[in-house]
Amino acid sequence: MNLDTLVGLLQLIPVQRAIIALAIAGGAFPIVGVWIIGLNIVPVRFAMMHVALLGIALGMLIQLEPTLVGLLLCGVTGVLLAPLAKRPAGLSGPMGLVMTMAIAAALLVLSLSGVNANGAFELLWGSILATRTIDVVILGIVATIIIVVYVVKKRDLALLLYDREVALCSGIAVEQLTMLLMFVIAVAIGAAVHLTGALLVDSVTILPAIAARNLGRSLQHMVWWAVGIGIVGNLLGFGLTLVLNQPPGPLLVITVGLITLATFLRKRA
């Protein structure tokens, strides 16, 4: 591809919107990834993808905006799961249960409402190149909420993610904070799945956080690393997408994945 073609592509509105969406998601969603790693709830993203599908199916059944019902159901599920975080076994088991129950319930609801399941899946699996202006606005709102929660609760979060009991005995309202985190995590994943596509959820949340875990010495360091890798990795991956004329999802995940792999090698060295 020559430079003129690349410049031409960059002038296309869908491409510009995709770049803005990736910059917003890469700049804020890795913070959610850091929380997910800290709370040891990596399966949450699969659980919430299925809950979002159930919400979309419910929205179709009751004829409300499916995306909003999906996000709402994700948020409610996150809040309902939060009290289980204090169990020694943590949230991994309940996440698996939620995932299985949600997909079963979603298929049942789709059958009851007579909607073709593919229609619901299309709503769920968004694409970064199909991002609309309203999607960018929603991403911006969710990103702002994530950043505000992090900045306001930074000190409490550092203790909670280090050790729940140390946080409790420091006078932190741990249950409320966990509930807030679970709500934001669930909504962020629901939004990311719909707006950027299922494959990209990992490249804007978990992968930068895993890389940051290898590089950061504290929560603050981890967040800076995760955000940096999120922005640079995703924009670089998108650039490769344009240059190589390949689908964005796989290239973005592979680019951020390779950066993450490099951090493991650096850690070993």
Binding site: Y162, D163, S218
Partner: protein, 213 residues
């Protein structure tokens, strides 16, 4: 001794599943008293401290701190503010936290930092906790607890505070804890530590009995 807290435990039962690990324990500790709890592993010592802090559920009986029987979440948070805690399990802590961030969670971070310097761990302020040795970590948690006492906590709960220390360190920490003008309840296998306490309670199979110090 204005901050020292009274502690009354009556007929306390705590269980793991159906197995009682603290079994009908009653204990009255006056403000300013220093009490050592000794006993073999698994006798219920740590569970007793954790129940006082609200970290282990109470099956029966009650624990009253400063005439307050905590029931609501707000009560428990208020109680946790009145207690300085040195945990035995030095935090699950695989997630990075810097020493100065932990000291900042003390009720008086300035005092906590000063004490950390006195305990020769002040220079580790920018290190992650998981990079510290067991002894260094214990000193950091002690500095944090003493900062909380300076900030108004009236009860120190210390769970094997000298376990990871060398002999010199054990004596130094025992002396520091003995000098505190608050109520102290310390779980220990260390005779030096126990000898600094006015009372010694021995636990076996979840039950407690007073022994001569």
């Amino acid at each position: 001794m204005t901050n020292a807290t009274a502690l009354h435990i009556s007929n306390l039962v705590c269980r793991f599943g159906s197995t009682p690990v603290v079994d009908d324990v009653s204990l009255a500790i006056a403000p300013g008293e220093h009490v050592a709890i000794v006993g073999s592993n698994g006798s219920g010592k740590t569970t007793l401290l954790r129940a006082i802090l609200g970290l282990h559920p109470i099956y029966a009986g009650q624990i009253v701190v400063d005439h307050v029987h905590a029931q609501s979440a707000a009560d428990w948070r208020q109680r946790q503010q009145r207690i300085a805690w040195m945990p035995q399990r030095q935090a699950s802590g695989q997630f990075p936290l810097l020493v100065h961030e932990l000291l900042a969670s003390s009720r008086n971070p300035t005092v906590a930092h000063d004490i950390a310097s006195q305990l020769e761990v002040g220079m580790l302020a920018d290190r992650p906790l998981h990079a510290l040795s067991g002894g260094q970590l214990q000193r950091v948690f002690l500095a944090r607890a003493l900062g909380s006492i300076a900030g108004g906590a009236g009860l120190l709960l210390a769970d094997e505070p000298t376990a990871a220390l060398d002999f010199g360190g054990q004596a130094a920490v025992a002396t520091v804890i003995a000098a505190q003008q608050v109520t102290v309840l310390v779980v220990t296998h260390d005779r030096t530590m126990a000898s600094h306490c006015g009372r010694v309670i021995e636990m076996a199979n979840g039950r407690a009995r007073e022994v001569t110090p």
